[in-house]
């Protein structure tokens, strides 16, 4: 390039994109690494190892690994089995079943954990009490405060990651591959084992890695069910340390060291997933939909249907009903019977109690603000990455990828480090620090949706505007923005909906008046206000499900 450097619109956009990513994403993450690795002004790996070899941190690492592996294995089996059942067999009501299996994606898992605690806690859980008191069992039939309990609950909410991927692959697979095996004399079960499964293996693996990524960094379920029995994973230990010590140096250091481990693990998983995906896009999985051959279940048809209905009843209907019923109890522990029911709890949290009312408005306000800001920031950054030919774009792409691999608790901790007054701005304990963290956390969604939309806008459309006399700003305003609007709308709701039920980030950042819905449910439960926690969870479920359904109806957004 010849000519002197010009300061024009491209440079402003580029600068803006870099500034947003650096301030909201890079600085918090770098501060984590810095605090983890630097002690008293010098690099100190030994000290990091020392922190990691402390009994509790070491145990948290092991627990994260055990829980994530367990959930990954069970979730993958469950997800693959149901995906096969609804795409490749003659199971009745397959279409409805497919939709129902995706419902757990809508429900926050910590609310599910709360429900299962009420059902299966060893002494007070309703199911255990039923078995002990009514059927005369000597002890609880299942203790939810265990590794198995946590894995069970997480599986219920995470298996759709595999389910979606495998359904997609099975539906797009060219049936002639199976038919030719059939002509060669193989029976359908041999074909499934020898042809189908190997061909969809990349999708299974990719879904499994998503489960692992999510479970490794998962806070809610482990916090609800594990802390009681002393089971901590990395995010819950970070929370415990930061919360108990009110930000002491030792706690922050433990947090940053654990976060570093978490980020490295997440990066590794994402790297693996990219490799699986880049290798796994065989041509056999064509773009168009085929009508695959179906296995006739024969005598198993009705038993399997009953099994699916039982599974859905057990994992979706039972916990949801429990939440609403317990939320209506006069006191926790009373039998669920009409004479013990009241609407007072719901009335109280919706109209009387500032704590819960604030929480609802905080979550809605935070969700809207984060979605709006991140959507616009996402457009600018995606535009620079996808459309502009500027030096230094590689850095931007890297920064844009960063949010994909940074778990929520790490972002929260990084935001605490960056915005607690050490660098001039102190917004700790205010609603703003949660907003800043949400922007960082959901940036990846905005970039994904907007990049996809921008790639559809051909360069010549913008150039035609420039040749028509439009400045770059005018071309952006009149051509680019209107054309990427669907991507922006998608980004908005991809952020707003999860932000409504967010817990991991806000639980580390909330102050006395800045609880979110998730935090309110979590703290009410911690404080033993179980009926209020349940009532609040019920209200949250109504808000979340209504928002999801309305959005999907109106905008037809595919996740």
């Amino acid at each position: 390039m010849t000519g002197s450097f010009r300061f024009g619109t491209p440079q402003i956009l580029f600068g803006l994109a870099v500034a947003i990513l650096v301030i909201f994403v890079a600085v918090p993450v770098l501060l984590i690494f810095f605090n983890a690795l630097w002690v008293n002004g010098s690099l100190n790996i030994a000290d990091m190892v020392k922190v990691l070899s402390e009994r509790e941190t070491y145990k948290a690492l092991i627990n994260s690994l055990i829980l994530a592996s367990g959930v990954t294995v069970t979730g993958t089996i469950v997800g693959t089995f149901f995906a096969w059942l609804v795409t490749r067999t003659d199971l009745p009501y397959k279409g409805a079943m497919k939709v129902l299996f995706l419902v757990p994606f809508m429900l926050p898992s910590f609310i599910g954990a709360l429900a299962w605690k009420m059902l299966l806690s060893p002494r007070s859980g309703y199911i255990n009490r039923f078995f002990i008191e009514t059927l005369g069992f000597p002890g609880p039939i299942f203790d939810i405060y265990t590794y198995q309990g946590i894995i069970l609950v997480e599986t219920m909410y995470l298996f759709p990651f595999v389910f979606i991927q495998v359904c997609g692959a099975l539906e797009r697979m060219d049936p002639t591959l199976e038919e030719s095996a059939r002509i060669s004399g193989a029976d359908l079960f041999t074909i499934t084992r020898k042809i189908t499964i190997p061909l969809v293996a990349p999708s299974i693996l990719s879904g499994a890695l998503l489960i692992m990524l999510y479970s490794m960094a998962h806070f809610g379920t482990v916090a609800m069910l594990g802390i009681e029995a002393g089971i901590y994973n990395i995010p819950t230990l970070i929370y415990e340390r930061i919360h108990q010590s009110a930000g002491s140096f030792a706690a922050i250091r433990t947090g940053t060291v654990l976060s570093t481990v978490l980020v490295i693990a997440a990066a590794l998983i994402i790297w693996l997933q990219n490799r699986v995906l880049s290798k796994g896009r065989y041509q056999i999985i064509a773009g168009k939909s085929f009508r695959p051959t179906e296995i006739r279940l024969r005598g198993l048809r009705l038993p399997l249907l009953a099994f699916c209905i039982a599974y859905i009843g057990f994992t979706i209907v039972l916990p949801t009903t429990t939440i609403f019923l317990v939320g209506g109890l006069k006191t926790y522990g009373l039998p669920i019977a009409v004479e013990n029911m009241t609407f007072d709890n719901y009335h109280h949290i919706l109209f009387e109690w500032d704590l819960t009312r604030d929480a609802i408005w905080n979550s809605i306000g935070l969700g809207l603000a984060a979605a709006l800001i991140t959507m616009f920031a996402g457009v600018i950054i995606s535009y620079v990455i996808v459309k502009m030919k500027v030096p230094g774009k590689g850095l931007l792409e890297f920064l844009g990828m960063l949010p994909f691999s940074v778990p929520g608790s790490v972002i929260a901790l990084g935001v605490i480090l960056a915005w607690s007054g050490k660098y001039g701005i102190n917004i700790y304990n205010t609603i703003w620090i949660i907003l800043v963290a949400y922007i960082a956390r959901y940036m990846a969604f905005a970039l994904k949706a907007n990049s996809a939309a921008l790639e559809q806008v051909h360069d010549s459309l913008v150039e035609a505007a420039r040749a028509s006399g439009a400045t770059m700003w005018q071309a952006l305003r009149d051509i680019v923005i209107p054309l990427v609007r669907p991507g922006m709308v998608a980004a908005f709701f991809l952020i707003f909906l999860p932000a409504l039920r967010e817990l991991t980030v806000s639980v580390l950042l909330y102050g006395p008046t800045t609880r979110t819905i998730g935090v309110a449910i979590y703290t009410l439960n911690e404080d033993g206000e179980t009926v209020y926690a349940a009532a609040m969870a019920g209200v949250a479920l109504i808000i979340i499900v209504t928002a999801e359904v309305v959005v999907k109806r109106v905008f037809k957004i595919e996740k």
Partner: protein, 362 residues
């Protein structure tokens, strides 16, 4: 009306030199066509003219104004030109009228004036009545007309057209190229048209510039010039199907490759012992007898408008063509296996080897 002057223009992308030290002047009011094979840099030249890319060296002047090079860098929106893109680039979210009115809206033209000129431009390209349609409701040809109207509406002094007819079917392409030519003459604007299709170039241009793969301008001249008086074999070959025959000189006579047949026409004034003789299919006249080159018809295909022959003569195979009127006359029609005589109404001689010509073009 504006002239365009390009001096010493160079541009590289990723270390690959696309244009090197290019000079070109397009007169005001002229329809100028840049003709060249794909990848020859003609689109790059367009983008430099429009201001989407900056030259590495050299200058571009539009009218008297320096727009690129020598410290000047006028952005595309200030160059006052109209441009039509190969893929139309009609904005899918705007109606026909909104697409066409956009340049006027940007220029803050008064509303009534804007409406009047928009309607006129839409009428000029024959889309009157379709103002409210969205681009998705238009055919490819109609979209191309929208793009043309949009480029014309602000009455630019310079119109750049980058292979705008490529994506159209043959009939529409033919129709549109005459319409563009007509509009250009009616409005008197300067047009620079980029294409790799010699038919369009010949039909539309006052002057043609023929570019080769290395981004060099081989010849600039009127359609007659480049077609009939090509400066070299590359230009000759690029402007249409041609026969090339390696000839050998013995004394004052030129022999065909079989070493026996003698060139029947006037000998070219070439000093070397070897040369290439070129002629187009329609340059060959077929007769039953006479003193032309003796040959045998190997294949005769009736193509409707013309009769196409493959004829073996002088140790090579010629492609010859006659128009249908003659081909349908049994007396002048040749069947496969018949002998014939070839006379050459037109010919070009080059001191280049055939292999270099065949390898060097397309």
């Amino acid at each position: 009306m504006t002239s365009v002057r390009i001096d010493g223009l160079s541009k590289s992308f990723g270390g690959r030199k696309i244009l090197h030290d290019l000079d070109l002047t397009v007169e005001a009011g002229e329809s100028f066509t840049l003709l060249g094979p794909s990848g020859c840099g003609k689109t790059v030249l367009m983008r430099l003219l429009a201001g989407f890319d900056r030259p590495d060296a050299g200058t571009i002047r539009i009218g008297d104004r320096l727009v690129a090079g020598d410290g000047a860098d006028v952005p595309p929106d200030r160059r006052g030109l109209g441009m039509v893109f190969q893929d139309y680039a009609v904005w899918p979210h705007m109606s026909v009228a909104d697409n066409v009115a956009y340049p006027l809206k940007i220029a803050r033209t008064a509303a009534d004036e804007r409406d009047r000129r928009t309607r006129r431009a839409i009428g000029q390209v024959g889309l009157a009545g379709l103002e409210a349609r969205m681009p998705s409701q238009l055919s490819g040809g109609q979209q191309q007309r929208v793009a043309l109207a949009r480029a014309l509406v602000s009455e630019p002094s310079l119109l750049l057209l980058d292979e705008p007819l490529n994506n159209l079917d043959a009939n529409l392409r033919e129709e549109m190229r005459f319409e563009i030519r007509e509009l250009q003459q009616k409005l008197g604007i300067t047009v620079i048209y980029v294409t790799h299709d010699q038919e369009i170039a010949l039909a539309i241009a006052d002057r043609i510039g023929v570019m080769d793969e290395t981004g060099r301008l081989r010849q600039v001249g009127t359609p007659d010039d480049v077609f009939d008086r090509p400066i070299d074999a590359f230009v000759y070959r690029f402007l249409g199907v041609a026969n090339f025959v390696p000839m050998r000189r013995v004394g004052a006579t030129w022999l065909f490759p079989d070493g026996a047949a003698v060139w029947p026409g006037e000998a070219p004034g070439l000093a070397g012992e070897h040369a290439t003789f070129g002629c187009r299919p329609f340059d060959i006249e077929l007769a039953r007898d006479g003193d032309g080159l003796a040959g045998v018809v190997r294949r005769a295909s009736f193509l409707g408008a013309q009769m196409d022959y493959l004829i073996e003569a002088g140790g090579v195979t010629f492609r010859a063509a006659t128009d249908s009127r003659r081909a349908l006359d049994p007396a002048q029609r040749f069947e496969e296996g018949e002998t014939c005589r070839l006379a050459f109404r037109g010919s070009q001689w080059f001191d280049t080897a055939v292999a270099d010509i065949e390898g060097g073009a397309r």
